[in-house]
């Protein structure tokens, strides 16, 4: 940085008639004030007051917070948490596989394939998830023995355990929603892309996997992420068919000790932890698939997460 330092250029604001009215800071080009927001402050204060009151009443209520704290790392609760995570991961993998297959079938030019895919979505999106779980769980009532040609046969109760019923039910249900998401994302890719790939002599399969799906991905990840978070919570329905995941374990405990609300709050806490972790994972996957359109749009929440993480990394480094 050699060379003579030059004086900063003249920055004085010079508007005739104003000079007498405002302070020196303004004339030096500084200190323009924000518009006051009295209503915003008032509303904010009211909301905070409401929240304080809510928290206060729960703190005063008939809840033994000490007991609740004790259950957070309870062995049975952690077992339930592990089962919740396992069933969520497995059924979202199966759901994505089913969804992809049925989305492609739905878009295929084969009328039988596309009708079957339509039927699948119609049935499994059109009936309650809990009902579907109950039907899978009680399959033994109609088919006492399951037999697959060339594979063999088994007693239905042995095959359709509560775990299997939950896995099948949750996967098939999620698959129906994911199929629609994938179909929508594929249709949203500009038709010129398919046309260009086709004109180059790419096969339909290559067009789908190399051109269309990669472009559908950025739109797909948020919705599949939401599906997975939905599954995380939806897996609690499995408690009703005797699969003792997180909620099921909590119920088993409070049937014995009657600390109902304490345990339900512990369960809520673990669900929040799990969904938060899932959201962070989703953020990274989204970022990976957004490479070719980096720095386009980031929501405030995205910036918050990425900011928090870069700060964390900065501290550990």
């Amino acid at each position: 940085m050699a060379g003579p330092s030059t004086a900063p250029p003249e920055t004085k604001v010079d508007v005739p008639g104003l000079t007498e009215l405002v302070d020196a800071d303004v004339l030096a080009g500084r200190k323009l004030h924000k518009r006051p927001h009295p209503v915003r402050w008032l509303v904010g204060a009211l909301i905070v007051a409401g929240l304080v009151w809510l928290v206060h009443s729960f703190a005063q209520g008939q809840i033994r917070w000490g007991d609740a704290r004790g259950f957070v790392f309870n062995h049975d609760i952690l077992t339930g948490l592990r089962r919740t995570i396992v069933i969520t991961v497995l059924s979202s993998i199966c759901g994505i596989a089913l969804g992809t297959v049925f989305a492609v079938m739905r878009l295929s030019s084969n009328p039988v394939a596309s009708s079957v895919a339509w039927l699948y979505v119609w049935i499994f999106r059109g009936t309650p998830e809990l009902l579907q779980l109950l039907i899978w769980f009680n399959l033994a009532l109609v088919f006492p023995v399951l037999s697959i040609p060339l594979v063999g046969s088994q007693r239905t109760i042995d095959v359709i355990t509560p775990f299997m019923a939950a896995l099948i039910g949750l996967s098939i249900n999620a698959g129906a929603y994911i199929a629609e998401n994938i179909r929508g994302a594929i249709l949203a890719v500009e038709s010129g892309q398919t046309e260009a790939a086709t004109a180059l002599g790419l096969s339909r399969r290559a067009t789908l996997t190399k051109v269309v799906l990669p472009q559908a991905m950025p739109a797909l990840i948020p919705s599949i992420g939401n599906q997975t978070i939905g599954l995380l919570k939806g897996s609690s329905l499995a408690a009703t068919i005797a699969y003792t995941e997180l909620l099921g374990q909590a119920q088993r405990i409070y049937f014995l000790n009657a600390r109902v609300m304490e345990l339900l709050f512990v369960v809520a806490l673990w669900y929040l932890v799990a969904t938060s972790v899932a959201s962070v994972l989703q953020y990274y996957v989204e970022r990976y698939y957004g490479r070719s359109e980096r720095n386009q749009r980031t929501s405030a929440a995205d910036r918050l997460i990425s900011g928090a993480f870069s700060r964390l990394r900065g501290q550990t480094a």
Partner: protein
């Protein structure tokens, strides 16, 4: 297969309807090896549909297309003309390159990946060869310094040049251009036309749908004027563009020239 009297592209009595709308009413044309055929005509006259029939993106209702002597899209089975298998049609499309009005660059791939994708995934070249060939094609269109750019980082003219390189990478026997400069800002038209002129000079067989009459005049081996799904007039550029016999051709040409002058001279276009 290449023989000097057989045209590289022969379109014979192509007919195509969408529902009741007859878009092509028996169109016949041909292009010899190394020729540049320019197709002009008003919007909706069926020019794009004609091009799309040549690479079987569109299945014609009647008529035949031959490229380098090979029948496109159909084959004789016994005495019946039957549509070819997907694999066969895909193979045939590889020898017919196409460049679109809206570029249709793959936005998730870099320029180099755009060009390398088809040779690689159709098994024409391995990864290393495809990358090398893609770099070569990008150089040919003057973009060797933008290999790693994504579509959003490229101007329209650059995207269209990538699209040309992408088509060239399959070593096609013929290139189809569907209004390649119509979506470009006026100042970017020149760079794309320059690349096309070079290709023409290098002996590429091209069929170019365009409103750039100056280009048609300079580069075209023949000019075809289409209207309402039929060829109204065709012949050497000087005849069709210089002294058109048909009144519809005359009207069209004077209209395009007027538009051209207006868009070239801002004082005229703001005056009305």
């Amino acid at each position: 297969m290449t023989d000097t009297t057989e045209p590289m592209v022969r379109v014979s009595q192509i007919r195509k309807s969408y529902g009741k709308l007859e878009v092509l009413k028996g169109v016949s044309m041909q292009s010899m090896k190394g020729e540049t055929v320019c197709v002009i005509g008003p919007s909706g006259s069926g020019k794009s549909t004609l091009l799309r029939c040549i690479n079987h993106l569109e299945r014609p209702d009647g008529g035949l297309v031959f490229v380098d002597g090979e029948m496109i899209g159909y084959e004789l089975r016994g005495s019946r003309l039957t549509e070819r298998t997907d694999r066969d049609v895909e193979r045939q499309r590889r020898s017919v390159g196409m460049v679109f009005q809206r570029f249709n660059i793959f936005p998730h791939l870099t320029a180099l990946e755009n060009v390398a994708l088809a040779p690689r995934s159709t098994g024409l070249l391995n990864r290393r060869e495809a990358t090398a060939a893609a770099a070569e094609q990008l150089e040919r269109v003057g973009l060797s310094d933008r290999k790693d750019a994504y579509a959003r980082q490229l101007s329209g003219g650059q995207q269209q040049r990538v699209a040309i390189a992408r088509a060239l990478a399959m070593s096609p026997k013929v290139l189809l251009f569907d209004e390649p400069t119509s979506a470009l800002d006026p100042e970017l038209v020149g760079e794309v036309l320059a690349v096309m002129k070079e290709l023409a000079a290098g002996g590429m067989t091209m069929i170019v749908v365009t409103h750039e009459l100056q280009f048609a005049r300079e580069v075209g081996s023949q000019v075809i004027f289409m209207d309402e799904g039929a060829i109204v007039e065709q012949g050497p550029p000087d005849e069709v563009l210089g002294s058109p016999k048909n009144e519809r051709t005359r009207n069209f040409i004077s209209r395009v020239f007027k538009d051209d002058r207006q868009s070239a001279d801002p004082s005229l276009s703001t005056a009305n």
